[in-house]
Symmetry: C2
Subunit: 370 residues, 2 copies
DNA sequence: CTGTTAGCGCATTCAG
DNA sequence: CTGAATGCGCTAACAG
């Protein structure tokens, strides 16, 4: 259907020049003031004429170091290019400085926003996220939990409230703060920060009814481990019944996440099978875009001929023509809240015993497509 | 312009139930076969009636452990839920198992694909990426390099070939393999895996000329640290001159990355200022989508009234109406190649002295929009 | 095949 | 304010 002309450029690997790889330790004092990971704290101490311990204190801004000593040490550090070994520090203190973070897919910008929020807040406390990508699969999640636990994270943030039995136990017995995000778990493991996907689906059904649509349909993924998408669908279908609308059509693909292209295919299928449908709720904005593009292609007007709504308030929802009605939530703030929850636990130690459940606000953004 | 109706749901944080937080060590042997990060190798050794060292060997599949002993140890590990401490192991071996990986923005799915490739290949070798997000800023990159160096990564993958002077030195003196990816650096620090963004821009100009367009324009980001986008623009502009076309118009926004919405705004501006333009090259597919949507909105036909091309071959480029002519490269394979390069260096030690430059193939995909 | 000794780089005591 | 001794959990090297 589409011509694919390729102007090939270059291939292959070429070895260019010879270079001297300065591996390993190099204690020459004539080196520029740049990282030398072969250096140890003792080297700095020797050069500054103090003990290792004093260097350690100076580095951590311990108050019990005189200003003069501190300045001298700092000068040596700068000159020699010493970079402290945080792994060793963590090893000694028993605090790794890591927080394991599992998201379904890094390729979905919506989770990337959440991750950004997490990274920023953790960074403020000197914590570093250890990222894991579950690929929307619970078995992969279980594997990742085990893998990341070996790095002795101080906390763990996971997406969703559904896990394998073993994953659940791993989390419960890890002895570290755990936060489930992006959903309201039925059986929370510990703290959670999320919103009700079910309610989001219901909200969209109400909106479509308010706009005068009566024959609704849903496009999304079918089976699989994406319980959040499934909850949105269920909420939508429940509301359709509650509101006394005609039974909703459902078009699904078997594996989450559904793509833009699949959104378009689903639209074609839907139009063929159920021409009476006047409004469609797509499980995510990308699939809604696909559905809209398909309508353009078929010469259908949105929303005049058929209304289309999405979920997530991706940037494209605003920029699309027509712009897309969608459910919006501050995904970044969600990540920030999850990270803050971990930090709060860490600071409290095991003193606080009550489980915290944070419900994020979401809103329906009415745009041109409905 | 757009009504924003909000069906507010819930807010705030509620404390629900009381739970018993089982922090810290718990040596009860009645625990389920689940992670207990309080356990040490010695505990397993004691329970299995062997020495720590034998447990260590069994865990690493060392051949010098009898099958019986190994089975006994494994049984104890499973029963007690021991999870080895990889930080401690790394500390002892001097191999952290980390590879620092810097990308401009995790929120751009194109880099997420590359990251996925990196993660997969590193994972095969038991290596874990330590992620850093530079936000398209070289000063942030420098900061991140320093931060991540503290975790003693075994290698470092960075995006692009332009760095601050200090960052460059940090990388040169880190004593670990470094790979620059996504570009062909003018002054490579060490190995690189990328493609010529400049040539990509030229390729697009040639294509547009071949299609009969004569008045070309470019939409993209202006200043900032995104040298890859800048190289595409320069290549495009150079080719316009080489090919004897009319001088190209350029519409830019000052900070990369340019959004879909900005692509639309740029389109409006371009149509007002330069109505003679018949084809536009957008620095990335998202901005091309924005431009196309704006054309829909204004009642212009693409490509009949104006042709629009993008870069990156994002999923939307295929699903869009019209589908978008773009430059395609296997972003995931790019990441895989970068990771393999790190691994190759790691395996070679400092024996191999020649610098490797890998040029990835890219292709122009001709679709409906031109 | 298995055990013993030593130490990775740092921070936590406790003495000065 | 500064220094010396000790140990975090594991593995390398060597000894049986």
């Amino acid at each position: 259907m589409v011509a694919q002309i390729c102007y090939r450029y270059h291939i292959d690997k070429v070895y260019l020049t010879q270079t001297e790889q300065t591996m390993g330790k190099s204690k020459s004092k004539t080196l520029p003031a740049i990282a030398n990971t072969g250096l140890r704290m003792q080297d700095i101490a020797d050069a500054a004429g103090v003990s290792k311990m004093t260097v350690s204190r100076a580095l951590r801004n311990d108050e019990y170091v005189s200003a003069r000593t501190r300045a001298r040490i700092q000068a040596v550090i700068d000159r020699m290019g010493y970079v402290p070994d945080q792994n060793a520090a963590g090893f000694a203190t028993g605090r790794s400085g890591f927080v394991a973070t599992l998201i379904p897919s890094i390729e979905h910008s919506i989770f990337a926003s959440t991750l950004r929020g997490i990274t920023d807040i953790l960074g403020e406390q000197g914590l570093l996220p250890l990222l894991g990508d579950t690929d929307y699969r619970l078995d992969r999640e279980e594997l990742l939990i085990e893998t990341l636990l070996k790095r002795r994270p101080e906390g763990m943030i996971v997406t969703g409230g559904k896990h394998t039995e073993r994953a659940r136990k791993l989390l419960q017995h890890a002895g570290i703060p755990v936060v489930e995000m992006w959903d309201v778990p039925e059986q929370p493991i510990a703290d959670s920060v999320g919103f009700s996907n079910h309610e989001a689906g219901r909200t969209m059904a109400r909106h479509l009814k308010d706009r005068g649509y009566r024959n609704l349909a849903f496009i999304g993924a079918a089976a699989g481990d994406d319980t959040r998408g499934a909850a949105r669908r269920q909420g939508f279908l429940d509301a359709v019944i509650e509101l006394g609308l005609n039974p909703a059509r459902v078009v699904t693909f078997d594996k989450p996440p559904i793509t833009t292209e699949q959104g378009g295919q689903a639209m074609t299928q839907l139009l063929n099978q159920s021409p009476e449908v006047d409004a469609v709720f797509c499980v995510s904005d990308p699939s809604a875009v696909g559905a809209i593009m398909q309508c353009h292609r078929l010469g259908l007007r949105v929303p005049d001929d058929i209304a289309i709504a999405g979920f997530g308030d991706f940037e494209i929802a605003r920029a699309s023509f027509p712009s897309i009605t969608t459910i919006s939530c501050d995904w970044r703030a969600l990540g920030e809240a999850a990270a803050r929850q971990i930090i709060e636990r860490l600071k409290a130690g095991d003193k606080t015993l009550s489980v915290s459940t944070t419900l994020m606000t979401f809103s329906l953004v009415h745009r041109e497509s409905t």
